[in-house]
Amino acid sequence: MKTTITVNGQARSLDLDTRTSLLDALREHLNLKGSKKGCDHGQCGACTVLVNGVRINSCLSLAVMHDGDEVTTIEGIGGEENLHPMQQAFLEQDAFQCGYCTPGQICSAVGMLKEAAENWPSQASEDLTGAIALTDAEIRERMSGNICRCSAYPQIIAAIRDVAGEVA
């Protein structure tokens, strides 16, 4: 099925099997292997990408559903020569070990900060309609869809905290 997805700012036209997940379209058809497959069932977050600015598990979404969408993957967040501040913070805080969950964590963190800035509430929020104070508890709750089996959690929170700044 013909599908056009704008990936990292570039329109990409593909002829896809309707069973192909967005994750497999990225990895196997567009050679964007930064998005990882950890479970293929929406349980680990390694495949997190931003679709129209919002983070999703790309393994849980069929690629053909994204005709006309804008997708940002880790490759679009920043490259070796132009690291995104979140990537830089992950490096500095040693917020990863094996690195397999890392692209998902970073995409998720970038998406999460935007959600919080727009005052989307979470389970950890005191007030469902007011401004969100991005406490560590908020960050942890909002990042909990991204598993890190190496368990770099304290370092990941520190990295996100570096980028988000201290709570006012």
Partner: protein
């Protein structure tokens, strides 16, 4: 064989003139990982478009395949081949070896009609796309004749037997001393079967060039994987080029090759096309190894002052029927506490479930849960602080062998941790601290894990631009190997990290044993150090023998390296100048490390202390971590950042062990009930609050030339027990059945009328 005496003299790493050793430099391969450009096994670009493989797994625990119909699968769109035990290409028989010095025997895939565990691969499909391969695999119809199987460990404890070639270690008169002890503890603790859940599933990309196969696979041991595949295909080892540059977590579960390696290689040969094959997450649970469950009886007999007089730690565990793996869950206790009368040993139940095998700190991780909780119980019984109880049982020499410790800072770990954590604020009486509906408590545990050095080699080359490249058939499974090898190289050669390259994970590089048993850093690092020392010698000779060098004719014993230069006092030139002039093709040398014979004269371990604070929800029985702190002593630390990440990661595994992690066998089918990450709960962000760790200053000159030790497994040892003890201190519920899920805690709370 070397001697520990050879390691006593100062060397560039122990002198650490430029300060690179120990520094928390960023990961060598970090930029690749944060940008998603590090290529893991399934992501490597093959020379031409690959076919996609898919495995079909058995749905019985034990029995025989009576019929297998592949016609629909073969007719399915895009399918290139369908293999079962009836038509898979010929492989060597299981256990066969043809190559001298092979580390692993043949391990054929789809080898027969026997099914030995649920999840065992029984068919393989290759197709033009992954979707087509998966669809076709699901069209295969398999009929089985199932046979009675042993599936329930707890119900099979009476089948336990002494493992082959083992015996109990009995010192003194345990039974008599225990019977006479004024204070006794006799409890049995249960730790469940656990899964590694590495984030990257096992995967292989394979292709052939002539009679040589290239495989990129996710494995912790380069040589082991290469040899296993060569034996299985019955070809010389040199005909297998195995690469494993980035590995998405191993934790022991990728210490061996699985059928993805064999079938990708065979498939690529049959199709004349590269093949990619990965396990699904479900197959990772069912068809790779796991940490076996352990039932551990602990008996402690103590004097009123807490001194242990009698001490027994007896483990019952399990492994696959055809295997002999023993989870040595009692071993750690042989070196931990003093007691004159001692009994330790293991029993094994053979079961018809997937293979048990090593998982992060095999032995200690499950074993320490028992003794470190039992010590807490004894402390309470005697009214002694749990730290004090441990200090009173601190041995002067190894309590089993009588050998001196190379260095032992357990006391310092516990005392420092107590102070930093605020242990004095703990109320020894359980159930006293309330915070709304939460009961809050603190617990602690000791940590011990052995330290090892294995034989290894490394190669190092300097080119005419002064760039130094270290090569080793070693792996980095997230442990930081790339980074520490770069640090060792930079410090030894007196250059900056920017002038060093590290290349790992290639069977054509000088071999190292790989990542496992927390021996990686010490083993690979020491070989790298020796290679660099040899490079120093080679360059010194080169300069001294070169009339155009300012060092010409000098005395090699006075040659120094630093700031990118080679020098004798004030005569110096840059390494780049020397090599480009005197050896324009570069200089390559190798180095090797082997264990010192007399290292065995010392009892050598890494140590730590864990401190945990939890809240127990009196309404739901839920346990939440509030704080956790660890203090560790593990030799000289090469990289403050990556070493700390290793131990905090291990501590978090301990939290998972205490609170959520465990798998259960479905006694009808022999499958694991939890077969994905929604059912098997590893810790997530929200579970981990305020967790930190420090290392004590240490250098162990009996360990290796650099005085370093492993840290990858130490963090998990005892960690779960500290959490369990905190739960008890919070609410007075003593659970001996891990993990301590809300249902168990709630039952305990209700029994206490809370």
């Amino acid at each position: 064989m070397s001697s520990v005496k050879d390691w006593a003299a100062p060397n560039p790493v122990t002198e650490n003139r430029s300060g690179i050793i120990g520094k928390g430099v960023e990961r060598y391969e970090g930029k690749l990982k944060v940008t998603g450009t590090a290529a893991y096994a399934y992501e490597v670009e093959p020379p031409s478009a690959p076919a996609y493989g898919y495995l079909l797994a058995a749905t019985i625990a034990k029995g025989r395949i009576t019929a297998i119909d592949i016609s629909a699968a073969e007719a399915s769109p895009g399918v290139k081949l369908v293999w079962t035990h009836l038509n898979v290409p010929k492989q060597a028989r299981r256990g066969e070896r043809i190559n001298p010095r092979s580390q692993r025997p043949a391990n054929p895939a789809l080898a027969g009609d026997r099914v030995e565990f649920f999840g065992q691969p029984v068919a393989f499909v290759a197709a033009d796309t992954w979707e087509n391969a998966r669809a076709a695999a699901n069209l295969i119809r398999v009929s089985y004749a199932a046979e009675p199987a042993v599936l329930d460990f707890r119900a099979s404890l009476d089948l336990a037997e002494m493992p082959d070639g083992e015996e109990d270690v009995l010192i003194g008169d345990f039974e008599g001393a225990y019977a006479r002890a004024p204070a006794q503890i006799d409890e049995t603790y249960f730790s469940p079967l656990q899964n590694h859940v590495q984030m990257e599933p096992c995967a292989t990309t394979a292709w052939w060039e002539g009679d040589k196969v290239t495989v990129h696979t996710s494995i912790q041991m380069v040589k082991g994987g290469q040899h296993a595949l060569a034996e299985t295909l019955a070809i010389p080892s040199e005909k297998v080029h195995l690469l494993t540059r980035y590995i998405g977590g191993g934790f022991g579960g990728k210490g061996q090759a699985y059928d993805d390696l064999t079938l990708a290689a065979l498939g690529a040969r049959a199709l004349g096309q590269p093949v990619k094959l990965t396990y699904t997450r479900q197959q990772m649970f069912q068809a790779t190894i796991h940490r076996p469950a352990v039932s551990m009886r602990v008996r402690l007999g103590a004097e009123p002052d807490g001194r242990l007089n009698a001490f027994a730690v007896e483990a019952v565990t399990h492994c696959a029927r055809s295997a002999s793996f023993v989870e040595h869950a009692a071993n750690f206790s042989r070196n931990l506490y003093a007691a004159p009368n001692r009994l330790t040993g293991h029993r094994l139940v053979k079961m018809d479930i997937p293979h048990a095998g090593p998982m992060r700190a095999p032995g200690e991780a499950s074993g320490m849960l028992s003794l470190e909780c039992a010590m807490d119980e004894l402390a309470e019984k005697l009214g002694i602080d749990p730290i004090e109880l441990r200090l009173r049982n601190e041995p002067d020499v190894d309590p089993e062998t009588g050998k001196p410790f190379s260095i032992r800072q357990l006391t310092e770990c516990l005392n420092t941790g107590a102070q930093r954590f605020g242990w004095s604020r703990r109320n020894p009486k359980p159930g006293q601290v309330r915070d709304g509906r939460w009961l809050v408590g603190m617990g602690m545990a000791a940590a011990i894990r052995g330290n090892f050095l294995l034989p290894a080699k490394a190669g190092v080359r300097i080119d005419g631009t002064g760039v130094i490249t270290l090569r080793q058939g070693m792996t980095d499974i997230g442990t930081g190997t790339y980074t520490i090898l770069a640090q060792i190289t930079a410090e030894t050669m007196g250059v900056t990290m920017d002038e060093v390259k590290v290349e790992l994970g290639d069977s054509e590089f000088p071999p190292a044993p790989g990542s496992g048993g927390q021996f990686g850093a010490a083993t690979a690092g020491s070989a790298a150090f020796e290679a660099n020392m040899n490079l120093r010698r080679a360059l010194a000779e080169l300069a001294i023998g070169d009339p155009n060098s300012p060092l010409y004719g000098g005395d090699p014993t006075y040659v120094t390296f630093g700031n990118g230069n080679i020098a004798i006092e004030n005569r110096s030139e840059s390494l780049a100048t020397l090599v480009s002039r005197a050896a324009p093709d570069g200089v390559y040398v190798e180095g090797a490390i082997s264990p010192a014979a007399d290292a065995r004269d010392y009892s050598q371990h890494t140590y730590g202390g864990h401190f945990a604070e939890v809240g127990v929800d009196t309404v739901t029985g839920e346990v939440r971590m509030r704080r956790m702190f660890g203090v560790f002593a593990a030799g000289r630390i090469l990289n403050a950042k990556t070493a700390k990440s290793q131990v905090t990661g291990g501590m978090i595994w301990g939290v998972g062990t205490a609170l959520t992690e465990g798998n259960v066998v479905d006694n009808r089918y022999g499958s694991f009930i939890n077969q994905d990450m929604a059912g098997y709960l590893v810790p997530s962000h929200a579970d981990i609050v305020d967790l930190d760790a420090i290392f004590l200053e240490e250098a162990d000159d009996k360990a290796n030339p650099m005085g370093i030790k492993g840290v990858g497994e130490l963090g998990i040892c005892g960690a779960g027990a500290a959490v369990a003890n905190a739960i008890y201190n919070a609410c007075g519920v003593r659970l001996r059945d891990f993990p301590m899920t809300p249902d168990k805690v709630l039952e305990g709370l209700m029994a206490k009328g809370l």
